[in-house]
């Protein structure tokens, strides 16, 4: 058998991998090898326990030398795992690495079938197709594209902050974009951190300040990414900088303008204190905000609402001229090579479970509201109080609110058990109240966490196992009058119980951000069924995404605590830096190309390309494809009415012979 690309006779070597029992348990591998051995052009056909092992690869190399093979086919796992391995082995033996074809008989075969005979038959068909197609493979070259050394970090919570600092300390220029007026994220709202009970602000604020002062970090708060173009190594990102009506460089955070505001009383819900306190239209988000600059809320400010304000803030600012009510929204374009997405989470809305009474009974609060109450910088100066100003004598925590629940969210939010136990200890410390925790299972797997649970038990916090049915205010006994009553099936005691308390804390779970689908599309990422951003591989590539050069860190990937968020942020930073320091991207050669003499210049292909890789050469009247931008999706190839667009590794003869191979077997 001959073709144009092998300098003579095609000599195929075929290898079918057992993958231990993974494949051999469902596919008769020796039978597949025997079947393929009888096909024309096949010189060697073998089955082997682990083709990806060193001896497995050595087998290929030796056969290439001894038998003069010029094509290789391996039937094993997904090409995502080992295509690179085998191409490398083929190349090491002196062949072009693209004279190789891989057949997936594990993910597409043994793992998804239960009938051994049928699975073996399918493996034979797929292998025959590959042997058929590989005859037509042409020699191809990978190309190298340089990487832009700057990095974009999206999200200024603890994960984004850590990723930005890690890369900036490594000498990379980092753009950190945060949607809110200050960085700090959820962690900035916490009083103490579990299980060590160390002060959250004390460990976070030094990092926030470091971001502000770092020479390698450009910090853009109150800003959002609105457009991402390009590809790994060469992204062009458009950032919208919302007007804060204050010049960040000139403002020193003296707050004179806030005192001078025409609104004498603060009367608008304060976002940082989750609505438990009020702020003015001109405000600083919180005492340690970075940047330490005020912001003016145009939805609340009299000047923007009516145009009839004396602008006492401008007057108070005086010669500093930091307030600029004419500031406009700006779009800024930056070039970066890599992007770290750390956009975080939102908390479950407790009103979605009406039987827990949130929004109905003022003394039913969420865990983040209690967190603000116990914080000395919070709305009550660190006093845990009921809505009548009294100190609660009994407090109940309801766990798994919006977690592990088929009616709302099925996942475990991972942090609420520990977070609640931390708050329980703080509440006891602050008020001496009796604390009861209603739980399904206590999940305290982190370092030092089980010990913390143990301490909570010893400190006299009561734990009742059972999902709370209802929080209500109807009383059966005189002791219940005027109290909130938790109705619960105590699954350890085997009793339905009614437990009256003064305050109820709902441990609300984590959810993907409300706009996570928009963000996903923006950065061309995938989401799991729950809406968390999907990592490339749950174990082997936990911070990579399916888009090269886009990494994820922190809770946008799934619920996690502070240590895990920071670990992931460090990993994402390292992955990005590894790419930058290598300096180039190796591009697969499976790109589309135009056969100019056949191109009619109809321009059908130009708007179809999702990567804007196709342009139209007006002088020649022909379409032109930028190989550096082409991702090899094949859309244009299929669409071209004159058949003038072709694609490397997916030539017509390759595809047709593959189809024939499958059909011939059937």
């Amino acid at each position: 058998m001959k073709n144009n690309y092998s300098n003579g006779e095609v000599r195929v070597g075929f290898y079918v991998c057992h993958c231990g029992h993974n494949i051999a348990g469902m596919v008769d591998c020796p039978a597949v090898a025997y079947y393929i051995s009888r096909l024309p052009g096949v010189v060697v056909s073998r089955d082997y326990k682990y083709m990806c092992s060193d001896p497995g690869q050595e087998l290929i190399k030796q056969d290439i030398k001894e038998h003069g093979l010029n094509r290789v086919v391996v039937a094993s796992c997904s090409p995502l795992l080992h295509e690179h391995t085998f191409r490398h082995a083929v190349e090491a033996a002196g062949l072009n690495p693209f004279f190789f074809q891989m057949v997936n008989i594990r993910e597409h075969g043994s793992w998804v079938h239960t009938d051994r005979a049928a699975a073996t038959d399918k493996a034979m068909a797929l292998s025959r197709a590959a042997v058929n197609r590989v005859r037509f493979h042409r020699p191809l070259e990978t190309t190298r594209v340089p990487i832009h050394p700057d990095v974009l970090v999206v999200g200024g919570g603890i994960a984004g902050i850590h990723a930005a600092l890690t890369m900036a300390n490594g000498g990379k220029k980092v753009f950190l974009v945060e949607r809110d007026p200050s960085i700090g994220g959820h962690m900035a709202k916490f009083d103490k951190t579990f299980p060590t009970l160390d002060c959250a602000a004390c460990i976070l604020t030094p990092k926030m300040s470091a971001v502000r002062s770092h020479e390698n970090i450009t910090l853009w708060t109150y800003s959002e990414v609105v457009k991402v173009e390009g590809y790994v190594g060469n992204y062009v990102v458009t950032v919208k900088r919302k007007p804060r009506y204050v010049n960040e460089e000139l403002c020193i955070g003296c707050q004179e303008c806030i005192n001078a505001c025409i609104f004498k009383e603060a009367k608008f819900p304060d976002e940082f204190n989750v609505g438990l306190s009020k702020r003015k239209p001109v405000y600083i988000p919180f005492p340690q905000a970075v940047p330490q600059a005020v912001v003016i809320d145009p939805m609340r400010c009299l000047h923007f609402k009516t145009g009839k304000c004396k602008q006492t803030c401008v007057e108070a600012c005086g010669d500093r001229h930091a307030i600029d009510l004419n500031q406009k929204e700006e779009l800024v374009q930056i070039k970066v090579g890599n992007i770290v997405v750390a956009t975080g989470f939102k908390l479950f809305d407790a009103k979605r479970i009406p039987q827990y009474g949130y929004g109905l009974y003022p003394n039913v609060v969420t865990s983040i509201e209690l967190e603000r109450l116990v914080t000395s910088s919070g709305p009550t100066g660190g006093h845990v109080v009921l809505n009548n100003g009294r100190t609660p004598q009994s407090v109940a925590f309801v766990l798994c609110v919006g977690s592990r629940d088929h009616k709302t969210n099925r996942w475990c939010s991972r942090t609420c058990c520990m977070h609640s136990m931390k708050l329980a200890q703080l509440v006891r410390e602050h008020t001496g109240a009796d604390v009861t925790v209603f739980y399904l299972d206590i999940r305290a797997p982190g370092k030092g966490c089980e010990e913390f649970y143990d301490k909570s038990l010893k400190d006299g916090i009561q734990f009742v196992r059972g999902r709370v049915a209802e929080v209500t205010d109807w009383a059966v006994t005189p002791e219940e009058e005027g109290k909130l009553v938790v109705r619960v099936e105590d699954t350890l005691a085997g009793l339905v119980r009614r437990i009256p308390v003064d305050m109820i804390v709902l441990a609300v779970g984590m959810e993907p951000q409300a706009d996570s689908q928009d963000v996903r599309r923006l950065f061309n990422m995938s989401c799991g069924t729950e809406g968390w951003f999907l990592e490339k591989h749950p174990k082997m590539a936990p911070v990579s995404t399916f888009t090269d050069g886009v990494f994820i860190a922190g809770c946008c990937q799934g619920p996690k605590d502070i240590p895990d968020s920071i670990a992931q942020a460090g990993a994402a930073a390292a992955e990005a830096m590894a790419l930058i320091d290598r300096g180039y991207i190796e591009q697969e050669p499976n790109t589309a190309y135009i056969v100019e003499e056949d191109c009619s210049g109809c321009k059908s292909c130009v708007p179809l390309c999702p990567y804007t890789a196709i342009t139209f050469d007006e002088a020649k009247g022909k379409a032109s494809i930028n190989a550096a931008l082409c991702k090899g999706c094949g859309t244009c190839v299929a669409a071209c009415p004159s058949g003038s667009i072709r694609q490397h590794l997916f030539e017509d003869d390759e595809i047709f012979s593959e189809i024939e191979g499958v059909l011939a077997h059937a």
Partner: protein, 290 residues
């Protein structure tokens, strides 16, 4: 607007005040209620727990009669009938065995049921089909100052929460507000009234009744409004026994349709209000329109 009407046994017996108020209210709103000819017992909850197949056949005869009577929805005011007829529809749809038994049974008397007829509660029909706007127009005697505890009972929202939330239904709350009444916060609105336990295990059943009454009193309600004949009976008929055991908890319980009739200015004596054991105080006299 025409509906087929399945009253069920209660509305002809203990719960006749419900029918006595429902039909005039519907007529007043221009809604025609065509009572099914030759309807039979729905089977209630008891038969379902004895023999599901035969219970479904019994209930399905009423569905078949409704289907034969026309494409209109079937309205049934009793919560037990409402639940049993809906449950039968679900069972016929989900279980080929039950469907076979039902069709065989119906076939023997020359009937069949395709599963199309919708079974509706009058509360649903009044608020969602007639509409609160239309109802509001008919209010001539707003129930101003009357504090009402809205009590739905269990069967109309569980397990099939077809027209409202299973935990916190609000359809009747909105209706009562439209009538001008003040709705008190009553978180027991879907708690158990004791149902048949008041007869069989009074210690358990009456205690549940007591909690409902006592909490309505504690929250300052003048009256409890209900949509179910069994709830009405339990909350109305056992005051002596309840109060002997646990102390005072006296409050009248009426059907929501009776309150509608009052607000519409229908003659009080025609709304069945005289049938209550614990009578509702007459509304304060309003000056006759000049």
């Amino acid at each position: 607007m025409t509906y087929n009407y399945f009253p069920g046994c209660s509305l002809k017996g203990l719960g006749r005040a419900y029918e006595e108020s429902l039909l005039p209210v519907m007529r007043h709103l221009g809604v025609e209620m065509a009572e099914l000819d030759d309807w039979n017992c729905c089977g209630a909850t008891a038969y379902m727990s004895v023999d599901e197949h035969m219970a479904c056949v019994l209930a399905a005869r009423n569905l078949a009669l409704a289907e034969k009577a026309g494409p209109q929805d079937l309205v049934t005011p009793c919560s037990a009938c409402y639940l049993v007829l809906n449950k039968t529809k679900h069972y016929i749809k989900d279980s080929p065995e039950i469907n076979a038994t039902v069709q065989r049974g119906l076939g023997a008397i020359g009937l069949s049921f395709s599963g199309k007829t919708a079974v509706r509660h009058p509360l649903d029909v009044l608020v969602h089909d007639v509409g609160l706007d239309v109802i509001k127009e008919k209010v001539v005697r707003p129930l101003k100052g009357l504090k009402v505890a809205p009590y739905y009972g269990c069967q109309v929202v569980r397990p099939y929460a077809t027209f409202d939330d299973a935990w916190n239904p609000t359809t009747m709350d909105r209706l009562l507000k439209t009538l001008g009444a003040e709705v008190v916060h009553y978180p027991l609105k879907t708690k158990c009234c004791g149902a048949s336990l008041t007869g069989t295990v009074p210690e358990a059943g009456l205690r549940l009744t007591y909690i409902l009454l006592k909490e309505a009193v504690r929250r300052g309600a003048d009256v409890i409004a209900t949509i179910c004949p069994l709830c009405q009976f339990n909350l109305d008929a056992y005051h002596d026994q309840v109060e002997k055991r646990w102390g005072p908890a006296r409050i009248p319980t009426v059907y929501f349709t009776q309150l509608m009739g009052l607000a519409f200015g229908l003659p009080v004596e025609q709304l069945g209000l005289n049938r209550n054991f614990v009578p509702m105080k007459p509304l304060p006299e309003v000056p006759a329109p000049a």
